[in-house]
Amino acid sequence: MSMGSGSEGRGSIFRFDTRQIVVAGIIGGIALFLGFTRLGFIPVPIPLIGNATIMHIPAIVGGALEGPIVGLLAGAIFGIFSFLQAENPVFLNPVVAILPRLLIGVVAWAVFVGLRRWSVDLAAAVAGLLGSFANTVGVVGLAILFGLLPVAVIPAILPQAIAEAVLAAVVTVVIVRGVMLFRSGRTTAPEDESDEERRY
């Protein structure tokens, strides 16, 4: 469907149209909603950590499906949320809280675009995995750089990083598959007796 294209971002450093503003806002809204309701924090039975976050997943999905600008903006909203909420003292430094988050969606976009020609599921999984690592590496790296965390903390954080990356990969595949199916315009599932769920 052709839609009357909206704003002309000309005259700004980077351009975005009305749809990108809206989509970035809505995806950022999903990130905020996950944070506000604490649904974005999955309790993990690992001492010292307690929670694995899935709040970065909107930025991953936004980057993969809508491009780097939307991914970047959704990540920015996630970052500002962690800065303002600051349950973890590390995020009181706005650079630590926000900068790495801008990369999540951009990494996810690059990975997804690069891999999708082979398999959408694979592309989504790797986008989730690497987007998630971009987040952890960026945050921990900057925190160490600012002296907020000692280098020795890395082994303690590693299990959480892996848990979050795996969760992100799984959840991103589910969401990307769902959204792409919805957008595909296909009306009927393929007849495939081997598929357990669809034999009815």
Partner: protein, 270 residues
């Protein structure tokens, strides 16, 4: 059972109608900024001691119950303790033998380590306190408006401030809509025998992932309609816009800001 909004603590503008609440949002943001800078400038215990009465005063004037703030800060304090323990135990610098209080392999406790950790702790607590107070006394909407006005001049540097702020406005607007949608989904699916609030980490994650699919799909569908709605309301980007809202900072607002700055200068120089 499922009442997501009950969990919402952060946000969390607590209206007490105090002087702090009524202050111009821009002034509050500026004051917060000054205090954030202060937390990096001040590097001795005396300086923090001077700041303390100011923080207490802000707390008292805002009429926010201190118990509420403390209760909401438990996770923060636990994280802080964890990080500080690491700071002390793995204190990297070479310190004179005399200052070691305890040592075991690479782990140690030294007076230098404790001193550094103490300063970091005060810095972090100051930062946490001011951002928390800003959030508690300013609604997200006023905060966004304030930010837009403060950063407005950057528009001349070709930074699309207006558009960026609109992204936040839309994000904030959709939070309650998604909360409602998620509650409905979770309730309806629980009724069909897909329990929502039971099970371990992986099970919960998978369920939330599944519930997020319809949220994303409805989000994208809403994006299409909202884009049309904005176009039909003649939205063509920030640079065509004029603004209705003007903020007015009263003399007392400026006075308060001046007071904060003066206080911080004293704390820094002592």
């Amino acid at each position: 059972m499922l009442e997501l909004q009950r969990n919402v603590i952060f946000g969390q503008f607590v209206e007490t109608g105090s002087v702090v609440h009524r202050m111009d949002a821009r002034v509050k943001i500026a004051a917060t900024f000054v205090l954030i800078v202060a937390s990096f400038l001040i590097d001795d215990f005396l300086g923090f001691a001077v700041v303390l009465p100011l923080l207490v005063a802000i707390g008292v004037v805002s009429k926010i119950p201190p118990g509420y703030v403390l209760r909401g800060s438990q996770i923060f304090l636990a994280f802080l303790a964890f990080i500080l323990a690491f700071q002390v135990l793995f204190y990297p610098a070479d310190v004179p033998e005399s200052s070691y209080l305890w040592r075991w392999g690479i782990l140690s406790v030294s007076t230098e380590g404790l001193h550094t950790a103490g300063i970091i702790a005060l810095r972090v607590i100051l930062l946490y306190y001011v951002t928390t107070m800003l959030m508690l006394t300013t609604s997200l909407v006023d905060l966004t408006n304030g930010l837009e006005l403060i950063f407005g001049p950057l528009q001349r540097l070709r930074i699309p401030v207006n558009e960026l702020v609109l992204v936040f406005v839309i994000a904030i607007k959709f939070v309650p809509i998604f909360i409602e949608e998620m509650e409905r989904l979770a309730r309806a699916q629980t009724a069909r025998g897909l329990p929502f609030d039971e099970g371990g980490a992986i099970t919960r994650a998978r369920r939330i992932g599944r519930l997020l699919v319809p949220i994303f799909i409805s989000g994208f569908a809403r994006a299409d309609t909202l884009t049309i709605a904005m176009n039909t309301r003649s939205y063509r980007g920030g640079r065509h816009r004029t603004k209705l809202r003007q903020m007015r900072a009263s003399p007392s607002d400026w006075l308060a800001l001046a007071l904060v700055i003066a206080w911080i200068l004293v704390a820094w120089k002592v």
